[in-house]
Amino acid sequence: MDAIVIDNVSKAYGSTKAVQTVSLSVKPGELFGLIGPDGAGKTTLFKILVTLLRPDEGRATVVGRDVVKDFRALRSLVGYMPGRFSLYPDLTVEENLSFFATVFGTSIQANYDLIREIYVQLEPFKDRRAGALSGGMKQKLALCCALIHKPEVLFLDEPTTGVDAVSRKEFWEMLQRLKERQLTMLVSTPYMDEANRCDRIALMQTGQILAIDTPSGVEHLFRKPLYAVKAAETFRLIQDLRKAPFTQTCYAFGEYLHLTTEEGTTPADIDRYLRERRHEHVTIKPIQAGIEDSFMALMQHG
């Protein structure tokens, strides 16, 4: 039986369709990523799954319990870490943790082995107010609080937003270790580079799911020729390339432009086109598509 089953779920706020007929399922023990830009409907979907919102249409179950009918029973089975830092800033680290432990009818000691690896990093600060912690530390504390009652499914809504690069890496390593304990996790993120750390991902945009696959599967959805192009004048380069007859799409990706072309266009054709327009230091190389390329392409075709 799947740990999370979402079946044609829709939710609208007034005339804004936040989630539109979304279906997906997550297997037990899977680390599933929900990837998409801000406003894609990720948070709304999370709130439906953790019983905070009712879907307008469709139904969803988490560990076999309906998110609407069995919401009371479900609430002690899931761990939820909202997108915003949602602990009490005026309570200390330890008080926060023991409050959530007691509220869920357990104690820090009873489930200490689950949070030990994370909590040892927090322990030196256990008498510090949560509001005075750094961003990365706050996330670790929030994760501890969401884990303290040994949930069967963990929902993490954009846990790494606003956290520095090192803490982000550490955070994902912690999730990998939790995965070894067979914990089912649904994680949302706007960062494409984090997608590779998931078992499977769903790409989401404007309330709809564009694709569901493994990270490499999503990369292989991209079938067109793809080139990374660089020249001395980036801005003029992007303008000229977008006007080129062979160009399908052209986006800036860091220092390179990612260019997709008609079938049959060779690097030599591109090079000739750019030389005619007096571009200097031109580099053109064929590349393997990443998740972001796939996402851009999927967005184009809706």
Binding site: L53, R84, F100, T102, V103, F104
Partner: protein, 369 residues
């Protein structure tokens, strides 16, 4: 039950660690009682008066001595003609002029009938009314002393026996019950609704909702600490009223405390109702101030007598809970009456609480929507 107490303990941490809350909780009643009890009273002390004595007789002199030794009046100047009166009032220092006509002593001694004229500066009408009342009653008491017990009474000044329970128009008697109502409302309703709104704002409400805590446990966990603190506050105000301002406690202390608890419960129901609607601390604060503080100050009879309000406002004042509570407190403390006299007001408070609590519970939703 364990999780409920964990929640209550957390609330006490919040209160204890927020200096502003502590200050509002325990500083406000003290400041208000002292401010309203001493500074903002209608009570008059050392009002400056002028005397225009055409008589210069024995009785007029004695009455002037009486007035000046009462502690309410201080002589600023003695006038010699009617024309001086207007000029004196214009200067603004003198609030009351006492005029003895010629032959006052003679008329009083022989005809048993004499007149005193009191002129008050009515640009401050409340002061004017108080001053004339004070002076009238001082003159009347002088008159009573002069008369043998069963003689026909002479002096021609009509005195209305007002303020039966507060003959000296002591301001504290009127203000303390009002301050009590206000502070209890503020602490109970405003603070409860603001702290619930704070949980919504910081996002912790989401986490609490997803926990096994029921919505009812969350709300009562919020209410309980404030119930205790408000009750403590109520006791402090009553003690300040009795020991600092000298208000009598003529009725039952037990009944007073019970009625105070009832009013606190009513205020908490109001706070819960506001919190089920307000999403942010700011909205909760404004809703509390607009819905409770303003009407309580202006429409409960706390500052302005209900009898002198326009009809429409008198009508509105009937739904202001503080109005009934103020009547109850005055009844118990000053008049010393019991539940036999106050059952109507008590019933109104009980039904209001039941109604508000009913609506709040009805508005509770186990989800965010």
């Amino acid at each position: 039950m364990n999780r409920f107490f964990a929640f209550v303990r957390k609330e006490f941490y919040h209160i204890q660690r927020d200096r502003r809350t502590v200050l509002i909780l325990f500083g406000m009643p003290l400041v208000m009682v002292i401010l309203f009890g001493f500074a903002l009273t209608n009570e008059i002390k050392n009002a400056q008066i002028a005397v225009l004595d055409f008589d210069h007789g024995q009785h007029s002199q004695r009455i002037i001595d009486r007035l000046l030794s009462s502690g309410y009046f201080r002589l600023r100047q003695s006038l010699t003609s009617y024309r001086d009166i207007e000029a004196t009032f214009r200067q603004g220092h003198v609030k009351l002029v006492v005029v003895f006509p010629p032959n006052f002593t003679n008329d009083y001694a022989h005809d048993g009938l004499a007149q005193v004229q009191l002129l008050a500066d009515a640009s401050e009408q409340n002061t004017a009314i108080s001053l004339t009342n004070y002076a009238t009653s001082i003159i009347q008491s002088y008159n009573n002393e002069q008369n043998p017990p069963n003689a026909a009474s002479p002096l021609q000044i009509s005195v209305e026996p007002r303020m039966v329970f507060n003959p000296d128009l002591k301001g504290a008697f009127v203000f303390v019950p009002g301050v009590m109502a206000m502070v209890l409302l503020l602490v109970s309703a405003l603070m409860t609704s603001v702290t619930i709104a704070r949980e919504k704002e910081t996002g912790t409400m989401e986490v609490l909702l997803v926990s096994p805590l029921s919505q009812l446990q969350i709300l009562f966990g919020k209410v309980l600490p404030y119930l205790l603190l408000s009750f403590l506050n109520g006791c402090i105000i009553i003690a300040l009223g009795i020991f600092l301002l000298g208000i009598p406690l003529n009725g039952s202390l037990l009944l007073l405390l019970a009625e105070t608890l009832l009013f606190i419960f009513l205020s908490l129901s109001l706070g819960l109702l506001i919190s089920t609607i307000a999403e942010t601390q700011l909205v909760a604060m404004f809703a509390s101030l607009l819905l409770m503080l303003m009407p309580t100050i202006f429409l409960s009879g706390f500052i302005f007598p209900i009898e002198s309000m326009p009809r429409a406002l008198q009508f509105i004042s009937q739904i202001i809970p503080a109005r009934y509570f103020i009547d109850i407190v005055k009844g118990i403390m000053i008049k010393g009456v019991g539940l036999g006299y106050l059952w109507k007001e008590t019933l109104v408070l009980v039904s209001m609480s039941a109604l508000l609590m009913g609506i709040s519970l009805h508005n509770l939703k186990p989800r965010l929507e």
